[in-house]
């Protein structure tokens, strides 16, 4: 039983990792907390859901559409909102994204009603793998592995490509990066887009087993914040580790203590960790 729950927790943790790595990128490069991150996820889920519902596209394909959608959403958010708030105190960017999250959530409520919606009859629906006495539902498994792969790709881009080096340079010192001929405006734009892409892909895959509703993003964005802060400033491996840990703690405490206390345990763990390491696990 313990292993079953632990594996379920880890699978959830991998999805958290993808959501958190998008946030981590934005935070690491721009020092902006994107409050609307969960709402991007929610809209990505709706894109995938409607494609599946109206056009019979499987989430295994429609993640591309929701990824592109959220990339554009991120770019637009940067162009229309974040760019203008960077001159003020760092709080104003956060509050502007808070306004955005409120707006997006209620637009979804207005357009799609508060009903919980779930995609049925997808390719993987109801299929599962048995490993001894452990059951692995295929939709969760594929989504989580996919999420993990995307996290690794993002990490590879940051560490090994010229674009990634430019992003790192911008994160370290904006004006020095500009002197080296890096167009930091463009980097910011791209980073916001990439952050959107991450949640978009996660959102595209999730509707195969998680119900979509306008409030779905709230919890995800809170957990993503905690992952990023627990992992350390802009560190993707840190966010990954923290996300796995959070998934594990959430599942285990939900089973062994009580379901109502699972998030108390998650946030309590976070507070304990930052008390010991004030800049997160991988922070410096």
């Amino acid at each position: 039983m313990f292993f079953q729950i632990a594996i379920d927790g880890l699978l959830t943790g991998m999805v958290y990792a993808l959501v958190a790595s998008g946030l981590s990128l934005i935070w690491g490069v721009m020092d902006v907390l994107n409050f609307a991150h969960g709402e991007f996820l929610m809209l990505g889920m709706y894109v995938s859901y409607w494609l599946g519902f109206l056009m019979n596209l499987d989430p295994l394909i429609s993640w591309i559409a929701s990824g592109v959608f959220c990339f554009l959403l991120g770019v637009l958010t940067y162009k229309l909102i974040i760019q203008h708030t960077l001159s003020g105190p760092s709080l104003s960017a956060l509050l502007a994204t808070f306004g955005l999250s409120m707006m997006l959530k209620n637009i979804a409520l207005n357009r799609f009603s508060p009903n919980f919606r779930i995609l049925t009859g997808t390719l993987l629906d109801g299929k599962r793998i048995f490993l001894g006495n452990i059951v692995l539902p295929l939709p969760q498994l594929i989504t989580s592995i996919f999420a993990l792969v995307v996290v690794f790709i993002i990490y590879y881009i940051i560490k090994r490509t010229r674009l990634g080096w430019a992003i790192q340079a911008t994160a370290m010192d904006k004006s020095a990066a500009e002197l080296m001929g890096i167009n930091t405006e463009k980097i910011f734009l791209l980073v916001f887009g990439l952050g959107g892409l991450c949640v978009g892909i996660a959102g595209g895959l999730l509707p195969s087993y998680l119900a979509v509703h306008p409030e779905v993003g709230g919890l995800f964005s809170l957990i993503a914040f905690v992952c990023v802060a627990m992992g350390g400033f802009g560190s993707i491996p840190g966010a990954l580790l923290a996300a796995l840990l959070i998934g594990l703690v959430e599942a285990l405490s939900g089973f062994y203590i009580a379901p109502v206390f699972k998030y108390v345990a998650v946030f309590g763990l976070y507070l304990l960790i930052v008390m010991v390491r004030p800049k997160g696990l991988f922070g410096w």
């Binding site: 709080l91 707006m103 946030f267 507070l271």
Partner: protein
């Protein structure tokens, strides 16, 4: 020059309080209880945001956890009336003491964190408290506390037919909290706060015990916040965890302060004067349909304000004053040239 500015500010403050005392006598306000409701909320949120401003603005520690203290204050008054059937006052006092103790206990470890790390830790604290209060049987859990019918008057701090006494209650709260902040602003403590905000290391180098200053500011801020919570529940006759202890509530206090001007004396009032009517009137005109149109508009307006004026309204006013001063100086210098 500074002294002159202060005298002007003093005069402005007294005139403002006098105007606020006279507002219920305006016939249009006296006849319309919704207008009174908006004025009450403006005063309440201005006071609450000023309480936040002590730690968030003057001391520079941006906390999103103030809904916890607001909620504890609300539950203090609520428990006294609903569970124990007595007047709210002892509950308010106990609630405020508990809020202060909780604030110190939480903040002592959290003040090690900086910037966004501190902000996220306070998010986590709000969520923890929210979930604990939701299942806490003694506090009626998610059902919340519902007020029974009570005897009207200042003893119970409850009125049903009129809102005017509530207005004066909120005004008393407003004058006390703004008065305390005004006192602090000119006091040694206020300068310590600003020193810690500007540069903690330098402040420590000149002999300020920054950890103590931050804790003291947080304790004071939470203490005052709990009174606002108590007022809220007395006005609302009902309290449940999501109503007082959620991120949304915390955000509203921060928004009001940032919008008005963070770390300024009149900022919270200006912010509340704009944000609260916006919230209430959009709710009244578009909220009844249950379609979220009011919140779409509200969110859009928040974005608009943050994009157009990231430094708040006080930033705008300061710019205007600088512009005027420069003009005046130019006139003086040209006069000198002529002579």
């Amino acid at each position: 020059m500074i002294k002159e500015d202060r005298k002007k500010q003093d005069l402005f403050w007294y005139v403002l309080v006098a105007i606020l005392i006279l507002i219920p006598f305006i016939p249009r306000v006296a006849a319309n209880s919704f207008t009174q409701h908006v004025f009450i909320l403006i005063l309440l949120y201005a006071s609450m945001s000023q309480a936040w401003n002590i730690i968030g603005g003057y001391c520079g520690q941006v906390s999103f956890g103030h809904s916890v203290f607001f909620g504890i204050g609300a539950y203090g008054a609520g428990m006294a009336i609903v569970k124990y059937g007595i007047v709210p006052w002892p509950g308010i006092v106990i609630g405020s003491l508990i809020a202060t103790v909780v604030a110190v206990a939480i903040s002592y470890p959290c003040f090690k964190l900086k910037g966004h790390y501190f902000a996220i830790a306070t998010f986590a604290i709000v969520e923890i408290f929210n979930r604990l209060f939701m299942v806490w049987y003694w506090l009626n859990g998610a059902l919340g506390l519902d007020y029974p019918m009570l005897k009207v008057g200042w003893k119970n701090f409850v009125w049903y037919k009129t809102k005017i006494p509530y207005y004066y209650g909120a005004l008393i709260l407003f004058v006390i909290i703004f008065g305390i902040v005004r006192f602090i602003e000119r006091n040694r403590f206020g300068y310590y706060l600003k020193a810690v905000r500007e540069d903690q290391e330098t402040a420590e180098a000149v002999g300020i015990n920054s950890a103590f200053i931050k804790l003291a500011a947080m304790a004071l801020s939470a203490f005052l916040a709990s009174f606002c919570g108590a007022f809220f529940v007395q006005y609302n006759f009902r309290v449940e965890p999501p109503m007082v202890m959620s991120l949304h509530v915390s955000m509203l206090f921060v928004l009001v302060t940032i919008l008005g001007g963070v770390g300024t004396f009149f900022g919270p009032l200006l912010g509340a004067m704009i944000l609260i009517p916006l919230q209430e009137y959009t709710r009244v005109y578009w909220g009844g349909l249950g379609s979220g149109v009011d919140l779409i508009l509200f969110g859009f307006l928040i974005i608009l304000i943050m994009v157009r004026q990231p430094k708040g309204i006080m930033g705008l006013i300061n710019e205007f004053q600088n512009y005027r001063n420069r003009k005046r100086r130019r006139i003086i210098s040209t006069e000198a040239e002529i002579n």
